[in-house]
Symmetry: C2
Subunit: 174 residues, 2 copies
Amino acid sequence: MSECPTTDRLTPRKREIVTEARALLEEHGAAALTMRALADRLGIKAPSLYKHFPDKAALELELIVLSLQETGEALEAAADSLPSLMKAYRAYALAHPHLYRLNTERSLPREALPEGLEARAAAPLLRVCGGDVDMARAAWAFAHGMVILQLNDRFPADADLTAAWEAGADVFEG
Amino acid sequence: MSECPTTDRLTPRKREIVTEARALLEEHGAAALTMRALADRLGIKAPSLYKHFPDKAALELELIVLSLQETGEALEAAADSLPSLMKAYRAYALAHPHLYRLNTERSLPREALPEGLEARAAAPLLRVCGGDVDMARAAWAFAHGMVILQLNDRFPADADLTAAWEAGADVFEG
DNA sequence: ACCGTAAGGCTAACGTTGTTAGCCGTCAAG
DNA sequence: CTTGACGGCTAACAACGTTAGCCTTACGGT
């Protein structure tokens, strides 16, 4: 009945593993998220991880689930206006760069995702856009573009990204 | 004196290798771009590649250079208005998804890039924005966001991306 | 004509990665 | 008491990027 993904989805041990995986990822980046490194951190050996997850992708999937959940909550808490919501989106992404990258750089494994999670994460944006899905997607694209280009160091070092953000955000509110 | 990157930068053999690397990437994706697979395609063995490039990153750098050049040319040819330029950007990216991803998903190794290449690729956009760098960056972010979210399959399968693109593009022209 | 050297191949091998096979201890339920 | 699930372990494999070291070919200078 209860359907909290973080609590229901995984056994306690699995949750411990995911927690350490997240810490490893957030502290040292995607390249450091290795089955052996993760096992080390847990005081076990790498092959033991496969007693809990079929492969690394399954483990990463749980990180994606976490990220989607938290994003949804962050957006929900700031869903009074589009600029406010977009700001919250950006803040979350910049606060968790590696997690955000992991979440967005692969294609979404929708079949494996908890039912409704994707929709729930997107709902606040859609609401704030008055149900205009096209505008919602365009705004999302802008926000994601700004964030990921920054994370990937694609803007010149001297670029004023706050100003660029404002320029885009202004254009999107009505 | 002449400074054409594609011609000057590399010896003929190096250019052959880059050409095959590009073909491999575009045909079969980033995961297929392996030193051994590339060598196979060239009829040689993997270690021989290191006679021409110090490592795989150096090889990929040349693909990034190619991509930046071609993007610059595509934008130049469509730089009569912002919507037209953005459309050209999108068209190039969608026509070369794997190359585009390779180009944008890492951080730019600026020290190793030919002098002025980055600026030259960005120039048409800046011009079309009347020198408003903030607006130019915001427009770029939107275009990149739309493209990369699509390439990464982040939009629902039934999403009308042309409509979303138009919604965003409308908002950006003035 | 010779020799040196650069260019460009080769094999063998190493370390790291994800992953599999198979074994063993612990512990609760029948 | 035993059986099975749970959750560790070691040994090993294949694929990856990469290095070391050897060999052939061809060309330019003396």
